[in-house]
């Protein structure tokens, strides 16, 4: 056995100049530089022409691989439509337009460097600003010189195709809430600093105190500074607490709000009645730290948007044929009966009937089956399939929103929402229970403390309020959000994106892991290996030359591996559904199905066993060998599975045929299932759960969506964050898949970390309450104790989350 795909050592040893991926097959050479594909070469040439090659000097893996990209040349034509453009632009005037586009391939400093020099590539662009965390680029341009469409096309040319979304929501709603949070923090911080300064004067005044007029001024000023904090900065907790009480629940927001109010009221009372200095410095500090916790939470949320619908998988527009002319229309406007033209690599937008004689459709995203399906005229082609090889014409039989794909997507995201609702409500129940218990305990202890002093009403009141003040669970509410928020931000740097903070805690409890095959463990594209007698170089060239004349996707893949060779051929004849025969380099070559080749040759065919034959080859009437579909297993999978098997049960659940059983047998043993339909996947998931397991499903396609929404945690593996699966809790960039064991143990550590911070904050609270009961909670003690507890929790959470994240980085280097 030998592989036809071996390329000379000198080229294999190289990585593509543009994208940095190892060059496996069909290197493209230009100016003594090796590229993995023509697409990457084109990008390099564009950048070289504009003197932008510094791009490659910044990061070794700067470029975005163009291999898997398939941009239709009129993909962005629709942007010329003013109605569409209006929905996309965030600002429009006669001389300045602004657009903020999500660009999923933004990933490193080089991307920022290049995209912020975009005006050199496209005249008319005034400025461009990249946000690397949110993966967006904001472009200001002059509509008189350039257009939205030209900008989109230019971005796609250099590998940064924007994700076109016609958003219904108002732009900028999200950022304004962050800005509001900063304003709240600023005001609370300002008040905290200044009141602290004035209180320190009193704390350190010595036995005689400070001058009376100064005391009055300081206290009045402190009240004045604290009022905006109470009314504006602390308002989120009042709103939350009121909502909880209206719903007849008591959650942790209630004791926080209670603590804030009591703290302020008691301080004002003390000051006005001249019985004490009050606790206004502690009050402002408390609100400040609470807001810091909020900021961590907020940060974690706006890292990567997960709200994708089935629409994000489809192009914005489709080419339709009408009276012999082809026009481009938005896919919503497809009417039943329209003739659609779908070219190689494009996605079929709606369920329709095939009008062409023959077509090849790749349903791997929808079903998990990696081999393309052959369809003949009149057959149904379903939305989500990708046309392969040749362009096909279709007659739409359903509207886009009524297709099977849309229905499947909606159903699975609905299921997930329900599932999430259940989970969230469980978390809420726990939090409510804790909040209720906590509030009742605090009020109980306060009443008890007050009762002890009962004849002395002033003392009694003072103890009561002191306990409520010090029991305010500020540090408690900080522990989880700060740890999880920090962890979430750090994980984003390793290509691990969490939907929400709770995912890490769910992940920690998982004990059974189920993998999908196609696209998850293997690359989305397939490759062929040749098995048979040794071929001469002439024969190899002959085979690829003849294969290149066919539009069948398998032939194209065979031909594609020799793209830099000269194609010489004569008399090529293709039999639809059979194969192709042609003469090249003095040989007659036949490539096709087993039956087709059996008719063409005289000798017995020695077919390999156990593996599916993609195409058989006969040379000069003699059977020479066959191409087998060979899964391209992602690197590091064997080590990954072995590492996971140590502690968890691991299984494979594939929608594909069992042709790769032999490849995965050493990894999974008997825990493998093939030919699983989406419903069967859900069934398998529920069966596993009924055995008491907490299941993690790792998949990539829509065919996994049902199973993913049924699973306890769902991870979507993706080569680019643009194509997304509904119902996932976590997105894993394909090259980070090997970090999964490290991620699971990180989740474990994070949970322990939260437990440690919670313990600390409970200890602080207990200490504070003890002091308050004993009547020893002077303003000075409160001013030291309350910020100290918050700072301890923040320090433990941030330092711990960062420290443990190092093990994930190490894991990445080792593989």
């Amino acid at each position: 056995m030998r592989s036809i795909h071996q390329t000379p050592e000198s080229i294999t040893a190289h990585a593509c100049v543009h994208c940095g991926e190892p060059i496996a097959t069909g290197a493209v050479l230009a100016n003594n530089l090796a590229f993995c594909c023509a697409g990457c070469k084109t990008v390099y040439e564009i950048l070289a022409a504009h003197d932008l090659c510094e791009y490659y000097a910044r990061e070794t893996t700067a470029g975005v691989s163009m291999k898997r990209r398939n941009v239709r040349e009129d993909e962005f034509t629709i942007l010329d439509d003013p109605a569409v453009a209006r929905k996309i632009l965030t600002f429009a005037s006669s001389h300045l337009n602004r657009v903020i586009w999500p660009v999923p391939s933004v990933h490193c400093a080089s991307c920022v460097w290049l995209l912020e020099r975009f005006e050199r590539l496209e005249p008319g662009v005034l400025s461009s600003t990249v946000d690397i965390m949110r993966k967006t680029v904001m472009i200001d341009f002059d509509p008189r010189t350039t257009s939205l469409r030209r900008i989109a096309e230019r971005l796609a040319n250099i590998g940064y195709a924007p994700l076109l979304r016609l958003s219904e929501e108002e732009p900028g709603t999200k950022t304004s809430s962050v800005r509001g949070l900063y304003a709240r923090i600023g005001i609370a911080g300002f008040a905290a600093g200044n009141t602290m300064m004035m209180y320190i004067a009193e704390y350190f005044a010595g036995p005689h105190g400070i001058e009376h007029s100064l005391v009055t001024t300081f206290r009045a000023l402190s009240i004045a500074l604290s009022i905006p904090v109470l009314l504006y900065s602390a308002s989120p907790w009042f709103i939350a607490a009121r909502a909880a009480l209206r719903g007849r629940r008591i959650n942790l927001d209630v004791p926080v709000a209670l603590g804030i109010v009591v703290l302020f009221a008691r301080s004002v009372f003390d000051i006005v009645s001249s019985t004490g200095t009050g606790y206004l410095d502690s009050f402002n500090g408390l609100v400040f730290f609470l807001l810091i916790g909020r900021l961590f939470q907020q940060r974690a949320f706006d890292a990567l948007s997960f709200d994708r619908t089935y629409r994000s998988f489809f192009p914005l527009s489709v080419r339709i044929l009408k009276n012999g002319n082809s026009t481009v229309i938005p896919i919503e406007k497809i009417n039943i009966g329209d003739a659609l033209s779908v070219r190689n690599g494009e996605v079929v937008p709606c369920d329709s009937a095939l009008e062409s004689e023959i077509g090849y459709v790749d349903y791997s995203f929808v079903t998990g089956e990696s081999a393309p399906v052959e369809c003949t005229r009149g057959e149904m082609v379903y939305a989500g399939g990708k046309a392969m090889g040749r362009a096909i014409t279709l007659i739409a039989s359903k509207k886009v929103s009524h297709s099977e794909l849309a229905a499947m997507w909606e159903a699975s995201s609905l299921l997930k929402d329900k599932e999430n609702g259940k989970r969230r409500s469980r978390y809420l129940q726990w939090s409510d229970l804790f909040g209720t218990w906590f509030t009742l305990a605090a009020v109980g202890v306060a009443l008890l403390g007050a009762a002890v002093w009962v004849p002395d009403w002033t003392k009694s009141f003072s103890i009561f309020t002191a306990v409520l003040i010090v029991a305010c669970p500020c540090a408690l509410t900080l522990a989880a959000p700060i740890t999880l928020g920090t962890a979430m931000g750090l994980l984003g740097r390793f290509g691990i994106y969490l939907k929400n903070m709770g995912v890490l805690l769910d992940l920690e409890r998982v004990d059974s892991i189920i993998f999908d095959k196609t696209g998850t463990l293997t690359m989305p594209d397939y490759r062929f290996s040749f098995t048979g007698r040794p071929l001469t170089q002439d024969e190899q060239i002959a085979i690829s030359s003849v294969a290149s004349q066919s539009s069948h996707p398998i032939s194209r893949a065979i031909a594609g591996s020799w793209s830099d060779r000269e194609n010489e051929f004569e008399e090529v004849k293709e039999t639809v559904g059979g194969g192709i025969v042609g003469r090249s380099m003095g040989h007659t070559v036949a490539i096709g199905s087993i039956e087709f080749i059996r008719e063409q040759c005289w000798n017995e065919m020695e077919l390999g066993r156990g593996r599916e034959i993609a195409a058989a080859v006969a040379i000069d009437g003699e059977y020479a060998g066959a191409y087998m579909m060979q899964p391209m297993v992602r690197p590091g999978i064997a080590a990954l599975i072995a590492a996971l098997r140590k502690t968890k049960s691991v299984a494979l659940l594939s929608g594909d045929t069992d042709r790769d059983r032999a490849t995965f047998e050493p990894l999974f043993g008997t825990a493998m299932r093939f030919n699983a339909r989406p419903e069967a996947k859900i069934g398998a998931m529920e069966q596993e759960q009924s055995r008491g397991h907490r299941v993690l499903m790792i998949g990539d396609g829509l065919n996994d969506a049902g199973a993913m929404s049924a699973a306890d945690v769902a991870i979507a593996v993706t080569d680019d964050t643009a194509t997304l699966v509904p119902a996932c809790d976590l997105i894993l960039r394909a090259d980070s898949l090997t970090k999964l064991p490290a991620l699971v143990s990180y989740a474990h550590r994070v949970k322990q970390l939260i437990a440690v911070s919670l313990t600390f904050s409970i200890l602080y609270n207990a200490l504070g309450v003890t002091l308050a009961i004993m009547g020893m909670l002077s303003p000075l003690v409160a001013a030291v104790l309350m910020p100290l507890s918050s700072l301890t929790v923040i320090a433990i959470s941030v330092a711990g989350a960062r420290h443990f994240a190092r093990s994930i980085a190490k894991e990445g280097r080792a593989t």
């Binding site: 084109t42 040439e45 564009i46 022409a49 504009h50 003197d51 510094e54 040349e73 009129d74 400093a109 920022v112 460097w113 912020e116 050199r120 600003t129 990249v130 946000d131 690397i132 965390m133 949110r134 030209r150 096309e153 230019r154 040319n157 950022t175 962050v178 800005r179 900063y182 304003a183 600023g186 005001i187 300002f190 600093g193 200044n194 004035m198 001058e211 007029s213 100064l214 001024t217 300081f218 000023l221 500074l225």
Partner: protein
């Protein structure tokens, strides 16, 4: 009137000016993205040689 009061008041006013500056900065979106500027500042300024005339590639629409 005690001079310390005047001092405290003026210092609080000075601090308030900084607060207003911060609120303006936050309101105008300077804190919307706090990660990218850290990457951006590491870029050296490159001098674009004026002799090289950019080659206009005819690649629109491909």
């Amino acid at each position: 009137m005690n001079i310390v009061i005047l001092l405290v008041l003026s210092s609080v006013l000075a601090a308030a000016a900084f607060l207003i500056a911060f609120l303006w900065a936050a309101g105008s979106g300077q804190y919307d993205d706090v990660y990218t500027p850290a990457v951006r500042m590491l870029f050296d300024d490159t001098i674009i040689s004026t002799e090289k005339i950019p080659i206009e590639l005819n690649d629109h629409g491909t």
